[in-house]
Amino acid sequence: MKPSLAIRISIHALLLAACAITLYPVAWVVKTAVTPRQSFSPSPNPWPSTWSLSNFRDVLGTHQGATWLFGRQLLNSLLVSASVTIVGVVLACGAAYALSRFRFIGRDFSLRGFLLSQMFPGVVTAIPLYILLDHLQLLNSLAGLVLVYSTTAIPFCVFMLKGYFDSLPHELEEAVLLDGGTHFDAFFRVILPLSRPALAVTALFSFLTAWNEFILAATFMSRPASYTLPVAMQNYVGDFSTEWGHFAAGAVLVSLPVMLLFFALEKHLIGGLTEGAVKG
C-alpha cells in the first residue's frame, strides 16, 4: 500500500521539522567553533558569519615541552575507549550469556544487581572509588580508568545482550552439544557470531561511555599527558571565564568520531537493540 501524495508530503514535512530542531543546537556548536572568538554568539542564526579554523588550530596544537599534547590525549582517549569497548563487551557477553541460558543459584540476585548498580548516584561513590583505586595502585593509570568505565558500561550492555541472546533459539546450542561441542563451543562458535548486531551496539555504547567522561578522568589522572580529550576540553572552562571558541572546537573534535561511528553502525543499532529472531 503506497500512501497518497498528501500523506507522503506531510510525513516529509514532519521529519524535516524534527531534523531541523535536532540539528539546531549542533549547528550552534559548529558556529561557535568556526568563529574566531572566545565568546558565545547571541544571534539566533545558526549560520556562521565568519569562517576560521583558528580555534581548531589552537586546540589541535597544544604542546607540553616536546610532547604534542592533543595527539597524546587523543591517543589516550582512543586507547581507553577501545579497551573499555573490549573489556566491557567481553565481560558483558559472558554475564549476559550466563543470565540468558543457565539456571543457577544467585541468578536473580545478579540480574537485579546489574540493574541496582544503575541506581546509586555517582555523587557519593566517587570518593570511595578514588580510595579504592589508590589501594589497587591504579590511580593515574589508564588501566584504572578502563576498569572504572567498563563497570559503568557493563550493566546496560548486559541487558541489551541478554535480550538478544534470549531471542536466539536454544536448539542452536543443543545442536552444538549433540554435535560434540561444549557450552563454550556453542557460545564462541554459534551464539557470538550470530549476535554481531547486538555486539556492535554494545561496543558502541561502551565506547561512548568512555569517550565522553571527564569528571572521574580529571580526578584520577594527574598528568596532562595522561589526560583524555574531554578533560583537556574542560580545561577551557574556567572559574570566571570560558574560552567558548576553543571549547566548541574541542566539542566538535570530540564528537566527530562518535558521530561517524554512529552513522556507520546505524543499521545495526536498530536490529541490535531489539531484534533477535534469526531465521534458521
Binding site: 535536532t22 561513590t125 554512529f262
Partner: protein, 701 residues
C-alpha cells in the same frame, strides 16, 4: 635533595589561556636557575579542581604544591589538607593586605601570587571619564539607555559581585564573629539600589559572564564590572579603561569589592616542602612576578613588581592595584561558602520583583543558618545495631514470603561466564556503593567522621530547619523529581514512537538520512548539550526568545519561573533522550508482521484503531525494559538540571540528585548528609522499578 639526582615537583593549577602560559614561562625560568629541580605543571579542569585536591591529598597522592585561594582556607586547614609554611617570609616583600587572608592562628598557609578583585571596566569610545560616584554612574547609564544601549553589565545576581554595593551601603555578609549578617537594613538598601538600576533598565538583565563579555565587546554596554580574568576576553580592537568602583552617593562610602588572594599552598603529607617552598618563593619573586604581570596580566602580590616602570605605567594593572587597596578581603570561614547560594537566590528574587529586599534577605539569612546547622548528635552504636538487625530480619522475611524457592538444578558452568563481570562489578561498583552508603551513617566532611546512626536520615525526612514546602526540603525535591521523571519518560516515548512510525515505511525516500540525522543527539556528550541549551533559553539573547519575537510573542524569562525553567530542563533532556526510544521502537516495529495490520485493515479498522489496538500493544514488550532503564537514568540526570536551570528559580527545579550534589560540594561538604540523600534516592528507585515491573506484569496477564 641528593646531588646529581633531579628533584621532581608537581604543581597543580587551574589556569588557562595567558595566565597559564605566563605561569609556564616563569616555571621554565625557575628550572633554568635550579638545574637540580624539574617542575611539572598540571592544569586541572576547574570543574574538578577542589574535588580532586580533596580526594588526592588525604591519600598522599596530592601534588607538591598547588595554586589555591584564600577564601577556602579555614576549611582546608580544618580538614587537614594543607600545611603551614614554617620558613620565615618577609612581609614587606608583598603588597600589603595580601598576607593576612593567608594567616590562620598566627601561621601562614600560602605564598601569595596574586590578588583578585573586580573593578569597573569602561569603553573609552563611550566614556571619557569613569564615574566616581553612583550618581554619576546612573547618569551615564541613563544617557546610554536613552541611546538604546545598556549602561552597565555585570552578574548582578551573584553575591560575590553584589558584595561591592553591599559594602558601599554599609552592610556586610558576615559579622566580626564570622556569623551571617545579611539581614541588615544596609544590605536591604544595597539591593534596593540594584533593583532601581534594573527597573530603569540601566543594567543588563539576567547577565552571565558570557553575556557581559559579549555586550562589552560589541559596545552594547558602556561599563562592566569584572575582574582581571576579563582582560583576556576583551577583543583586541576594543579601547577600554579600568577604574575603581564608584563611591555610593548616599553613604559616601566606596563600593568595596571582595578580594581574594591566589597563593601557592603546601598540601599536607607532601615530603618536599622545602623544595616546593623554594619554587613558591621564586614564583613570587620579582622576575617571575614581572613575567606573570606582563604576559599573564595578573595583578601580582609581589610589592617590588609594582615599582617597575613598565608596570607602574600600565593603567589597567594599576587600576586593579588601587581597587585592591579599597577591597574587603574574603573571609576564610566556611560561613562565607555557605552564603553564596542563598545570597544569589535572594538577589534573584528581588530583581524579579517577587518579594521586597528585606524579606528576601531574611530568607537568605535563615537558609545560611540552616546549611550551617550543627551536625546530628553522635549516636550510640548498640541501639543502631539492633535497629539495623531488625530491619534486616524484616527484609529477609518479606523476601522469603514474596518468593517461594523453586527447586531447580544449578548449572555451575554459568559461574564461569558470570565471574569476570561479577568480580569487576563487585569490586568497583559494590564496594564503593557500600562505603558510600555507610557514609550516610556518619557526620563526615571528608576527613573527620562522627557516627550519628540514623541522624542524617532523620534530619532529611523530618525536613528539619526548612519548611516542608521550601525547595530545600526533601519532599519538595522528591515531588519535582517524580514530575521530572514522568514528564521526561512520557515525552521520550511519545516522540520516539511518533518519529519511528513516520520512519517506518520502507518506501520512504531518504529514510536512512533522516534516521541518521535524528540520532545525532545521542552522539553528543550531554554536558555540551546542556550548555548549548542553556544559551538557547537566555532571556535577551537566546534563540528561543528570538523566535518568539518573530512570532510577535512576548519574550519569556525562562529561568524566572518554576514551570518555564522546568520546561527548559525538560526540552533539553527530551532532545537528549528521544533518539534512544526512537531506535528501540524502530526495532520493535520491524518485527510486527505486516499481515496483522492488513487483516485489521480488512476488518475495517481505521489507521488510528490499528495503531491503538495492534501496533502499540505489540511494541509494548520491547519498549518496557527501555522505559524502566530510561526512568532510572532520568531520575539521576544530574548534568541537565545542574547545567541548564541550575536549580533556578530558587532551587525549585533541583531534583534529588542535584540536591545531593549541593550538600556534598556546595554547602560545606556535608558528605554524610549527601550520602543519606543518595541512599534514599537508591531506595526510591528500587521501589519505583519494582512497582513498574509489577504494573507491567499485571497488565500483561
Amino acid at each position: 635533595m641528593t646531588l646529581g639526582l633531579v628533584l621532581h615537583l608537581v604543581v597543580w593549577h587551574a589556569y588557562h589561556g595567558a595566565e597559564e602560559s605566563a605561569f609556564e614561562h616563569a616555571t621554565l625560568a625557575f628550572e633554568t636557575a635550579n638545574p637540580g629541580v624539574s617542575v611539572e605543571l598540571v592544569a586541572v579542569p576547574f570543574g574538578a579542581y577542589s574535588y580532586k585536591l580533596e580526594a588526592a591529598i588525604p591519600h598522599g597522592n596530592g601534588p607538591d604544591l598547588f595554586v589555591g585561594k584564600s577564601n577556602g582556607l579555614q576549611e582546608w586547614i580544618d580538614r587537614g589538607l594543607i600545611d603551614a609554611i614554617d620558613a620565615e617570609v618577609d612581609p614587606s616583600q608583598f603588597v600589603s593586605g595580601t598576607l593576612p587572608p593567608l594567616i590562620h592562628h598566627q601561621r601562614l598557609y600560602g605564598v601569595p601570587l596574586a590578588f583578585k578583585s573586580v573593578a569597573l571596566f569602561y569603553r573609552r569610545d563611550r566614556i571619557t571619564k569613569p564615574p566616581r560616584t553612583t550618581d554619576e554612574l546612573v547618569a551615564i547609564a541613563e544617557r546610554e539607555h536613552a541611546a538604546d544601549r545598556c549602561g552597565l553589565a555585570y552578574e548582578a545576581a551573584s553575591l560575590s559581585y553584589h558584595a561591592a554595593w553591599l559594602h558601599g551601603f554599609g552592610g556586610r555578609i558576615l559579622d566580626d564573629n564570622n556569623q551571617p549578617a545579611l539581614d541588615s537594613a544596609e544590605a536591604a538598601r544595597s539591593i534596593e539600589f540594584v533593583r532601581m538600576l534594573a527597573n530603569r533598565h540601566l543594567i543588563a538583565e539576567e547577565a552571565t559572564g558570557q553575556l557581559v563579555t559579549d555586550l562589552f565587546n560589541r559596545g552594547e554596554c558602556a561599563m562592566a564590572i569584572s575582574g582581571p580574568w576579563f582582560l583576556s576576553d576583551i577583543e583586541a580592537d576594543v579601547r577600554f579603561g579600568v577604574a575603581s568602583l564608584p563611591i555610593v552617593s548616599s553613604t559616601g562610602k566606596p563600593a568595596a569589592p571582595l578580594s581574594e588572594i591566589e597563593a601557592l599552598m603546601l598540601p599536607a603529607r607532601s615530603k618536599t616542602h622545602a623544595a616546593a617552598l623554594n619554587f613558591a618563593l621564586f614564583l613570587s619573586g620579582k622576575d617571575a612576578a614581572r613575567l606573570r604581570a606582563l604576559e599573564g596580566r595578573q595583578t601580582v602580590a609581589t610589592a617590588a613588581t609594582w615599582q617597575l616602570d613598565e608596570i607602574k605605567n600600565d593603567p589597567v594593572l594599576t587600576a586593579f592595584y588601587d581597587q585592591f587597596k579599597l577591597a574587603v578581603p574574603m573571609s576564610q570561614s566556611r560561613a562565607l561558602q555557605a552564603s553564596w547560594e542563598p545570597g544569589q537566590r535572594a538577589l534573584r528574587r528581588v530583581l524579579r520583583g517577587d518579594v521586597d529586599a528585606k524579606r528576601a534577605l531574611a530568607g537568605a539569612q535563615a537558609e545560611i543558618v540552616a546549611t550551617l546547622r550543627p551536625a546530628p548528635p553522635p549516636a550510640a552504636k548498640l541501639p543502631f545495631a539492633i535497629s539495623l538487625f531488625a530491619l534486616g530480619l524484616a527484609l529477609l522475611w518479606w523476601r522469603q514470603r514474596a518468593q517461594p524457592e523453586v527447586a531447580f538444578r544449578s548449572q555451575p558452568v554459568a559461574y564461569v561466564y558470570l565471574a569476570p563481570a561479577a568480580v569487576a562489578m563487585g569490586v568497583l561498583v559494590f564496594v564503593p556503593f557500600v562505603v558510600g552508603a555507610a557514609m550516610s551513617l556518619f557526620d563526615y566532611d571528608g576527613v573527620h567522621a562522627t557516627f550519628v546512626g540514623w541522624g542524617n536520615f532523620g534530619n532529611i525526612l523530618r525536613a528539619r530547619d526548612t519548611s516542608l514546602f521550601s525547595p530545600l526540603s526533601f519532599y519538595f525535591a522528591l515531588l519535582v523529581t517524580a514530575l521530572w521523571t514522568v514528564a521526561n519518560v512520557a515525552l521520550h516515548v511519545a516522540i520516539g514512537v511518533a518519529l519511528a512510525l513516520l520512519l517506518r515505511s520502507p518506501l520512504l525516500r531518504l529514510r536512512g538520512v533522516y534516521r541518521a540525522l535524528l540520532i545525532v543527539p545521542w552522539a553528543v556528550p550531554n554536558y555540551i548539550t546542556a550548555l548549548i541549551w542553556k544559551g538557547l533559553f537566555h532571556k535577551q539573547f537566546g534563540a528561543i526568545n528570538a523566535l518568539l519575537k518573530v512570532c510577535h510573542l512576548e519574550p519569556i524569562s525562562w529561568f524566572a519561573h518554576f514551570w518555564t525553567a522546568f520546561a527548559a530542563n525538560l526540552a533539553t533532556n527530551v532532545w537528549l533522550g528521544f533518539p534512544f526510544m526512537m531506535v528501540v521502537t524502530l526495532g520493535a516495529l520491524s518485527r510486527i508482521p505486516r499481515e496483522l495490520e492488513e487483516a485489521a485493515a480488512l476488518d475495517g479498522a481505521s489507521a488510528w484503531m490499528r495503531l491503538r489496538h495492534i501496533v502499540l500493544p505489540l511494541i509494548r514488550p520491547a519498549l518496557l525494559p527501555a522505559v524502566l532503564i530510561g526512568a532510572v537514568w532520568t531520575f539521576n540526570m544530574f548534568n541537565v538540571v545542574f547545567l541548564v536551570s541550575g536549580g533556578e528559580p530558587d532551587g525549585s527545579t533541583d531534583i534529588l540528585v542535584s540536591q545531593a550534589y549541593r550538600w556534598a560540594f556546595q554547602r560545606g561538604h556535608q558528605y554524610g548528609y549527601a550520602a543519606a540523600y543518595a541512599v534514599l534516592i537508591f531506595l526510591l528507585l528500587v521501589a519505583q522499578t519494582a512497582f513498574g515491573r509489577r504494573m507491567s506484569q499485571k497488565q500483561a496477564t
